[in-house]
């Protein structure tokens, strides 16, 4: 029973971190894209709608890329840590 409680608490925390890190990675990529657009079109620096369109198109398949999927590791690592602790402490 306590074991179940721990698993549930871990899942909740993992999900929160997963969401936060996902948003962060997305915003990193968006900012890089914006900089790239500014580099390509220095004369159109104030043209926000065009820049947004460029960023939107480039971000279209982002959820399926490796970088976005790697964030899923957040779900695996705590389980590994728990197993590691159990083995190390009860040695």
């Amino acid at each position: 029973m306590q074991f179940v409680r721990m698993i549930m608490a871990l899942l909740v925390i993992e999900t929160i971190f997963y969401l936060m890190i996902s948003v962060y990675i997305r915003s990193l990529r968006t900012e890089a894209l914006e900089k790239e657009w500014m580099r390509r079109h220095p004369e159109r620096a104030g043209d926000r709608p065009a820049m947004q369109k460029f960023v939107e198109h480039s971000m279209a398949g982002f959820r399926k890329t490796l970088k976005a999927r790697l964030v899923g590791i957040v779900f695996v690592i705590p389980t590994l840590i728990v197993v590691g602790i159990v083995i190390a402490v009860n040695g």
């Binding site: 306590q2 409680r5 721990m6 936060m20 948003v23 962060y24 915003s27 402490v89 009860n90």
Partner: protein, 227 residues
């Protein structure tokens, strides 16, 4: 706002430090003196002992009597250390310790006296506060050859570093969020509010013309100035 932040820091940082100091493991080199079990009353200080789900037994008064294993030891300088040796639960602190009987046997095997000491490295977490009757929980007891072995706890340091990294990540994320999403939105709202206000002022004359005209009909008819 700044005062609220300062006050929060002053309250939260020591609490955080105490929490971390209680939960993270520390190593100590000691000579094990004795291992024993004692039936102990646990009342108000139950928070510092293992949770009830792990060990059964509670009576009506809310006090529990439990059989708790102890390890008493002496440091090279002559100070005494008393540890308890209890299984931790699955929930907290996350040590997942279930081999306290084994640990007791290991500690008993290392009992030695002052003339022929067998030094041991204990890993433990928790505090020894005598007036609360709480003891640190020994997690492992391992034989070491001399008292010069390093007592740096790698795991504890790693956990601390991870906590620092998490705080830094959250801080960076917060500033990033402010800079990229909140500030532009607020600036946009500001600009719109300004434009609206300017529009109100500019169009006021136009919009109030009808009313002013009607009010004007209550004044006297325009008369030529008296000469």
């Amino acid at each position: 706002m700044k005062y609220i932040r300062t006050a929060l820091f002053i309250i939260l940082l020591p609490a955080l430090f105490l929490f971390v100091d209680y939960v993270l493991p520390k190593n100590e080199i000691v000579r094990v003196n004795d291992t024993y079990s004692r039936i102990t009353d646990i009342g108000m200080n139950a928070m510092f002992y293992a949770q009830e789900d792990v060990v059964a037994g509670a009576d009506a008064a809310g006090q529990t009597r439990r059989d708790i294993r102890f390890i008493s030891a002496v440091t090279p300088e002559g100070n005494v250390r008393v540890y308890r040796n209890e299984d931790t639960g699955w929930v907290y602190p996350p040590y997942f310790k279930y081999d306290s009987a084994n640990l007791q046997a290991e500690a008993a095997a290392l009992v030695s006296n002052e003339d022929t000491p067998k030094w041991a490295m204990t890993t433990s977490y928790g505090w020894r506060i005598a007036w609360l009757s709480i003891y640190p929980n020994a997690v492992s007891v391992k034989r070491v050859e001399s008292t010069d072995v390093s007592t740096i706890n790698v795991v504890g340091l790693a956990v601390l570093l991870f906590m620092f990294w998490t705080v830094q990540f959250l801080n960076r994320g917060y500033h990033r969020l402010m800079r990229r999403s909140v500030d532009p939105t607020l600036a946009d709202l500001d600009a719109r509010a300004d434009a609206f206000r300017a529009g109100v002022v500019a169009g006021a004359e136009e919009r109030t013309r009808g009313t002013r005209q009607w009010l004007g009909t209550w004044k006297g008819k325009p008369r030529p100035p008296k000469t």
